[in-house]
Symmetry: C2
Subunit: 237 residues, 2 copies
């Protein structure tokens, strides 16, 4: 049943744009489809990192919590880890350059793939947001309320996905990366980093299993035609 080429996505990025943040899937259901991934909680309650089948939340204060099975998620991306080694890092590489290097080395721009980079980071800059209440604000309004966290000389893991541009809206076209420190001192949605040593692994995913929350009335009744989805993803993600 475990397909190492398959990315399971619950919910869509487009859904988050107008503020459809309600958690509709328990974590234990999400974890049936992968042991590695990223996501967010009910009400956009923090940023999630899933490694080796264990899910962590980096909440709006930057605190890292291990999550219970019944934690509810509105959006998550998971897959079963079966990474291949791509490159070692020996000298300082910034986030943007790492993305560029991975992308040009792989030539996988038309499929999905997972990226995992573990090592030492001279600096890391992340963000997370506090749980929002109904009526939910929009994703862009939340982005303005987000908290940013910075850390120096930290060991940790970058984990996330590359999605082809035609899936921008369903997912984030391009890279969507989260971070978790080995000592759980910092994490979140990655804004920037400087990696100085470690290794970069990748996993090609030529199948997307896109599950939509069809039992959620707010989602089913929402009219997306006036939402600037690509614009909001560009601004907020």
């Amino acid at each position: 049943m475990n397909n190492a080429n398959s990315l399971y996505q619950y919910g869509t990025l487009a859904m988050l744009v107008p503020g459809l943040f309600e958690g509709t899937l328990p974590l234990k259901e999400l974890l049936k489809h992968g042991d590695t991934g990223i996501g967010t909680g009910d009400g956009l309650d923090g940023e999630l990192v899933i490694l080796n089948g264990v899910a962590y939340q980096i909440n709006g204060d930057g605190k890292v919590n291990e999550l219970d099975d019944d934690f509810m998620v509105p959006f998550g991306d998971v897959h079963f880890a079966s990474f291949e080694h791509l490159a070692n890092v020996h000298a300082l590489v910034k986030m943007e350059d790492l993305e560029e290097k991975v992308s040009s080395k792989l030539d996988w721009n038309n499929v999905f793939y997972a990226v995992k980079a573990h090592g030492t980071f001279k600096s890391v800059k992340t963000r997370s947001v506090h749980k929002q209440d109904k009526p939910y604000p929009t994703l862009v309004e939340c982005a303005h309320k987000q908290n940013e966290f910075e850390a120096e000389d930290v060991e940790g893991t970058v984990i996330g996905y590359f999605s082809p541009q035609i899936f921008n809206g369903a997912a984030v076209g391009g890279f969507h990366l989260h971070f978790l420190a080995d000592d759980k001192s910092v994490g979140g949605h990655l804004l920037d980093f400087e990696m100085v040593s470690g290794d970069i692994k990748v996993q090609k995913l030529d199948e997307l299993v896109q599950k939509l929350p069809s039992s959620n009335d707010d989602f089913m009744k929402h009219d997306f035609s006036n939402d600037d989805i690509a614009g909001a993803i560009g601004e907020a993600e």
Copy 2:
């Protein structure tokens, strides 16, 4: 294994836009993921209709052929039929009005769904195209070479899918419908029809399994950034 909520899509519409028409999946593999659906053949070789596990091709001459298991496809949408009755047709309804009626009655604009309408058609207008050779033309160039077929007073089946707008590019946002006459006298990609009696069935599909042809070099190496995907789908589909 058979998930009645799942739409399996092999290839993307975006892929067809610049002319990536090479058939990379044998029909027998596609049929493992559904017994009902639509698609096209290697080199854009006709329009496919799959009903009850049997695949038919309407070729560029409008002739209907039952297909072998080893027929290769670049693009196909299939699911396992488990339709529910939506409405009966008692009076003349045009294609556009039927789409509008189905869409407004269901309120399923944010998920995928299958549509199957069987009955009597006062008129049917379809298209299909001859198999193209390499170097392949673009989808829009093919649309200009397509053959159109018209029939009157014919019994047959409309089969196809509705996809949410954020998946336009991966799929056809909105309706993508094919036709096959009961007596196999006519069929193809639907351009228009007037249905006078019969029934309309639908099946909600809240999961898309999107498989990409990652072993096809032409696909993997193509730069989609200059292709006007939405424009071409609007013009050609």
